[in-house]
């Protein structure tokens, strides 16, 4: 590893580098337990990726296929789905509203009492007696 080092190093630089290396290694050895523990946790977390890749790969690889299949099913349902009959029939309140808004029916509104009487009159047996 140090075969090229002497290309740029004179004696002073070698001394400086070796001193620096010694101090550095000492500081590495003196790392506290909490820091070492965090490093170990980080290592295990990274290594867990390998296990996850080996176990999760079998289903992960089907995710795109499942996505396309789901999209196809939704498209078919949307394309072939017919509107229900009750969606075509307007609600009763809407038809009443249309009748009331019609200009020709204003007379009926004015003679509402008369039409009520007619309606009552049409019922069987209403005029008897």
């Amino acid at each position: 590893m140090s075969d090229e080092k002497d290309i740029v190093n004179s004696g002073d630089e070698d001394l400086l580098s070796s001193q620096a290396k010694t101090l550095f290694e000492e500081s590495v050895q003196n790392l506290d337990a909490a820091t070492r523990s965090r490093l170990t946790q980080s290592r295990h977390q990274a290594l867990a990726e390998i296990a996850a890749a080996s176990t999760g790969g079998s289903w992960n690889q089907w995710l795109p296929v499942a996505g396309v299949a789901a999209a196809t099913v939704i498209a078919v349902v949307l394309w072939r789905g017919e509107p229900q009959m009750d969606e075509l029939i307007p609600p009763a309140a809407a038809s009443d509203f249309e009748i009331l808004l019609d200009q020709e029916e204003f007379e009926m509104l004015q003679d509402l009492e008369f039409y009520s009487w007619i309606d009552f009159d049409d019922e069987p047996g209403a005029n008897v007696g």
Binding site: M1, S2, D3, E4, K5, I7, V8, N9, D12, E13, L16, S17, Q19, A20, K21, L23, F24, E26, S27, V28, N30, L31, D32, T35, R36, R38, L39, S42, R43, Q45, A46, L47, E49, I50, A51, S54
Partner: protein, 202 residues
Amino acid sequence: MTVYAGSFAVSWTREKDTGVRLLQREQELNRFFSDVEKRALRIAEIALRNRDDALDIVQDAMLKLVRNYAHKDSAEWTPLFYRILQNGVRDYLRRKIVRNKIMVWFGGASNEENDYDPIAAAPDPRGRTPEEHLQTGEAMQQLELAVAALPGRQREAFMLRTFEGLNIAATAVAMGVSSGSVKTHYFRAVHALRDALGEHWS
């Protein structure tokens, strides 16, 4: 039936081989990280001057190596790992510079940042206990400050060559530069450090 049984046996054998290979790879990576993690942390810490951030960057480098280069030959892991680490350090420092500029622009720079003095911080830059401080020693404090004060490329070249012991070719891979550039940066770093530390280290 025989055909089905045969294909099942082949499939099972392949899966078993794959499982064994993965286990071996995991063990190799475990040994590699165990060997390199503490030095990598100190190298990142000296550059960043912050242990928590250095731990995050080391963890990130481990994850990226596993995700992207676990299949590579183990001899290639060291320069690749340090390349990821150095990229993380550079990104961190770049973000820090931008953040400081924004803070200055809005006039919200904290007193801690304004009043930061690396020399004044020298006795206890990482908040270590007195016992740890004594163990590490004043010489290491001076060395850390001097290395941290180097230009980025010189600092990388010096730490990778001296602290991690990488040769010029591996250092070049880790730094993403040519071998000639490594030699130049390393040469300048050593001379700058000799000038900075000479009076203490002579």
